[in-house]
């Protein structure tokens, strides 16, 4: 008898894993704010004037001017600091500290309320960066750049041999530039050694190694893997952290920040279709709405026949729909169903298409698309809307 249950269960699996249903579920969940969140939003708007007054009051009395001290003296941005004697402490107003080691040369090149840029010309430093939601610290050593939010680490730069060592004590940093093809994440307990020819990551106190897989294997769905660029099999790249991997891991804000840092926003014209789609999704989830539409449009224009352009057209339709540009959204959804009539997005596109027509008060077009929807998806999730539009709802109730 158990064979009966297992046979039925196996026959159900294609429906269980139906991609269109899952995509629709995903979209609805991402777009919909939970009730308590909506409630919070309501309160946010309701209290915004009060909060604004309070904020103005607070800020007007507590504007933090970024400052730092070198030893006991006030620091000056841009001054080169040479440590001839013992360790030289640089203390910042936010509580962050940088200890320059003997023989080191460095300068505080930039200073802002959210962080600083330290250039290490030679030698080593111990950094303790205090984390806040706005923290943006960067350290430069030769052609390398270390991106920090909040962390403790030691960085050593040998300018003669062009080698960088980063020993992580707490948190993690992203290292870009130099001989690194991709941004590399270095985590607590790890040491990165990058020379002019190679780079390795090892556990602190352990032997150097070139792991064949990332220190933490990103959890990627099969669909997401398909969207990745072709894998580079070299050990040096295989554990690099790219904005794509960060995005797939769900760290969309970090991914978008890295992509912006790497100039991806300005290089949309050079990206392949898979990256354009991933970047648009990343921007969407990072709530960087302004970056979504250009990526989708670039994808549709440059790769009109690529499968990714279907997703982009659907995305553009949703953007227009959200902007209540019903005519425009109808055009995009029409293009989706025309290009991919049997695709996974087709049911949702038909549904949005009839909604767009209805909201544009184009009732003949709404009725026509609803009839088509019912023909194609008689048990579809938007069946009731379609039935209402064709005037058959009453008979079903």
């Amino acid at each position: 008898m158990s064979e009966l249950w297992s046979s039925i269960a196996r026959s159900q699996e294609p429906v269980v894993t139906d991609a269109a249903s899952l995509e629709s579920l995903r979209s609805s969940l991402v777009e919909a704010a939970p009730k308590n969140e909506r409630s919070r939003l309501w309160w946010t708007f309701a209290l915004a004037p009060v909060a604004g007054l309070f904020l103005w009051f607070a800020v007007s009395r507590q504007v933090v001017t970024p400052t730092f001290h070198v030893g006991a003296e006030s620091g000056v941005v841009g001054n080169m600091l040479a440590v001839d004697g013992q360790v030289l402490p640089i203390n910042f107003a936010d509580g962050s500290t940088v200890l320059l080691s003997k023989g080191s040369h460095a300068q505080v090149a930039e200073l802002s309320p959210s962080g600083a840029n330290i250039v290490l010309s030679n030698g080593s430093l111990e950094a303790h960066v205090v984390h806040t939601s706005q923290t943006r610290w960067t350290f430069n050593a030769g052609a390398y750049e270390i991106l920090v939010t909040g962390t403790k680490f030691r960085a050593s730069w040998d300018s003669d041999h062009q080698s960088l060592e980063v020993v992580m004590h707490e948190g993690s940093v992203l290292v870009v530039g130099g001989t690194l093809h991709e941004a590399l994440q270095v985590r607590a307990g790890e040491t990165l050694l990058a020379t002019s020819t190679e780079h390795t990551i090892r556990q602190n106190g352990g032997p150097p190694q070139k792991p064949a897989v990332p220190a933490e294997v990103p959890e990627v769905s099969p669909n997401a893997v398909a969207e990745l660029p072709a894998a580079d099999t070299s050990a040096t790249r295989s554990f690099g952290v790219t904005w794509q991997l960060l995005s797939i891991k769900g760290a969309h804000r970090e991914s978008f920040a890295l992509a912006r840092k790497l100039g991806v926003v300005r290089r949309l014209r050079t990206l392949p279709a898979t990256d354009l789609l991933l970047f648009a999704d990343t921007a969407r989830y990072a709530q960087e709405a302004g970056a979504v539409e250009p990526a989708f449009k670039e994808l549709v224009q440059r790769f009109p026949n690529a499968p990714e352009s279907i997703d982009a057209a659907f995305g553009l339709g949703r953007i227009a729909f959200g902007q209540e540009d019903w005519a425009q959204s109808a055009r995009w959804f029409e293009s989706v169903v025309a290009k991919s009539p049997a695709g996974t997005l087709a049911p949702a596109a038909w549904g949005r298409l009839m909604e767009s027509h209805e909201r544009a008060a184009n009732l003949p077009a709404a009725r026509e698309s609803a009839q088509r929807y019912l023909q194609l998806y008689p048990t579809g999730s938007q069946r009731s809307l379609a039935e209402r539009l064709v005037g058959g709802a009453a008979s079903k109730l």
Binding site: T17, L22, R26, L29
Partner: protein
Amino acid sequence: MPGHSTHTVTSVLQVRPWAHEPPSKEPGDAAHDAREARLVAGLKEGQPWARAALVDLYGVHVRRVLIRVLGTSDPDIDDLAQETLMSALQGVKKLQSADALKAWLTSIAVFSARGTIRRRQRWRWMRSSSEVDLASSPTASPDIADAAHCVYKILDQMPADERIPFSLRMFEGLELSELVDACQMSMATLRRRLASAQARFDKAAAQSEVLAPWLQGKRSDT
């Protein structure tokens, strides 16, 4: 036939008839734990990526629970899956341990399914039997589709509190302890309901031309 019932009750309580996939987590699976913890933290912070990740990681699981209980052609599966995950978003702050996420989602899905079954049963008298939307998968072979049709027809006659644990036990092979959590009932109640469901099912299946061969173990061609 008391003897027959006793035999089958034992089978449903002691045997995992079929588990379609291995446990999703081995004890001490640190990567899994970390992923769950990140996801739950993201959900509690209201992060959009976490909502997407929730579907990516558990959308299939939620749909599977609902489909096992209600059948593939149930018109409300999509809505119920959405309702389940929306309820999860709204209640996630009450979730104390990320380890419990999957079991918690299962219980919410069960709750949604239970409400739907009860609602339909209240209005069943208004429908003719031909309107009862029974489940078969579009990919099932004709004999499996027939069997599924008959199985769900029997399940449709069961009280929700028997149907749900019985379906999950038979289709998914859930352990009794998992069913206790999923169905929010005591072990004693669960055992009683499983036994009752098994007896109902066996009695009905024995009278079905389609299911009788399966019940007698004569089916061996799949």
